[in-house]
C-alpha cells in the first residue's frame, strides 16, 4: 500500500467536485507530500490523469477496487 500524507474521501461526489475538493486539499499540503483520494465517480479516472498532467502533480497510482477509484497524488 502506498504511503500517504493526507486522505480525502470523495465518495458520492460527482464531476467536478472530486477534482475541485482535492485541489483544495492539495493547496494546504507541502511539495512532495502525497494525497490519497477515494472516488465513486467513474469519470474521475480520466479527470485525475488530466488534472495531474496539467498541474504538474505526479499521479503515483490510479486503481479501481470494489467499484471505488483510488488515486495517490504527489504534490508538485
Amino acid at each position: 500500500m502506498t504511503e500517504y500524507t493526507e486522505k480525502f474521501d470523495a465518495t458520492g461526489l460527482n464531476c467536478p467536485l472530486p477534482i475541485l475538493r482535492s485541489k483544495k486539499v492539495l493547496t494546504q499540503m507541502n511539495s512532495g507530500e502525497v494525497l490519497y483520494v477515494i472516488s465513486t465517480d467513474s469519470g474521475s479516472v480520466k479527470d485525475f490523469d488530466a488534472f495531474c498532467k496539467q498541474t504538474g502533480h505526479e499521479l503515483l497510482e490510479s486503481s479501481e477496487a470494489d467499484g471505488k477509484y483510488h488515486y495517490y497524488i504527489r504534490k508538485a
Binding site: G12, P16, I19, L20, T40, F51, T55
Partner: protein, 159 residues
C-alpha cells in the same frame, strides 16, 4: 508552467444552463487558469443572491422526462401550468441524489478560487436590476472590458 486564461460569456438563466459556465470556470481555476465570466442578459440570473433557477421542458424535446411523461403529454403537456415548477424540483432532487453540486456551491467555489465575475452593466440597467439583488464581489462592466481579458485568453466560450 505559464498561466493560461479562460474567458466565458454566460447568457442563459435556467437551472440546466447555469452548470456549464460554473463547472468550466471552477475546474479551469483548479487547473491554474486565470478565469473570467461575463454575465449578460438572462445570464445575470446566475449572479443573484437568491437564484431560484428553473428548468423548463417547454420547447425542449431533448429533456428526459420521468415516468414516460413525454408520451402522455406530447409537447402541449409541457405548457401545463405548474409543469415548470414540478420539473425544476424533480431535477434538483435528482441532482442532489446523484451527488451533483448545487449551482450555489459551484459559484462559491468559483469565488473562492478567484474567478472574476462580471455583470454586464447595460443589461443590469435594461432590466432595472439593482446591485443589491446580486452577490458581493462582482464587477460591473461592458464589452470593451470583456475584450481586455478575452483578447489574450487561450480559450473563449459563449454559453
Amino acid at each position: 508552467m505559464s498561466e493560461k486564461k479562460l474567458a466565458l460569456i454566460a447568457t442563459k438563466g435556467t437551472l440546466d444552463w447555469a452548470y456549464p459556465p460554473f463547472i468550466l470556470a471552477s475546474t479551469a481555476a483548479a487547473l491554474g487558469y486565470q478565469t473570467q465570466i461575463f454575465f449578460t442578459f438572462y445570464g445575470l440570473q446566475l449572479l443573484r443572491k437568491d437564484m431560484n433557477l428553473k428548468v423548463s421542458p417547454l420547447g425542449n424535446p431533448g429533456m428526459p422526462m420521468p415516468l414516460g411523461m413525454d408520451k402522455w403529454f406530447p409537447t402541449i403537456g409541457t405548457a401545463i401550468p405548474g409543469m415548470e415548477a414540478v420539473m425544476s424540483s424533480m431535477m434538483k432532487a435528482k441532482m442532489k441524489k446523484k451527488g451533483v453540486a448545487s449551482v450555489a456551491e459551484l459559484r462559491e467555489l468559483c469565488l473562492e478560487s478567484d474567478v472574476k465575475l462580471i455583470a454586464c452593466q447595460m443589461t443590469v440597467d435594461l432590466f432595472d436590476m439593482q446591485p443589491d439583488d446580486f452577490i458581493d464581489g462582482i464587477d460591473y462592466a461592458g464589452a470593451a472590458t470583456f475584450f481586455e481579458f478575452a483578447g489574450d485568453s487561450d480559450v473563449n466560450l459563449f454559453i
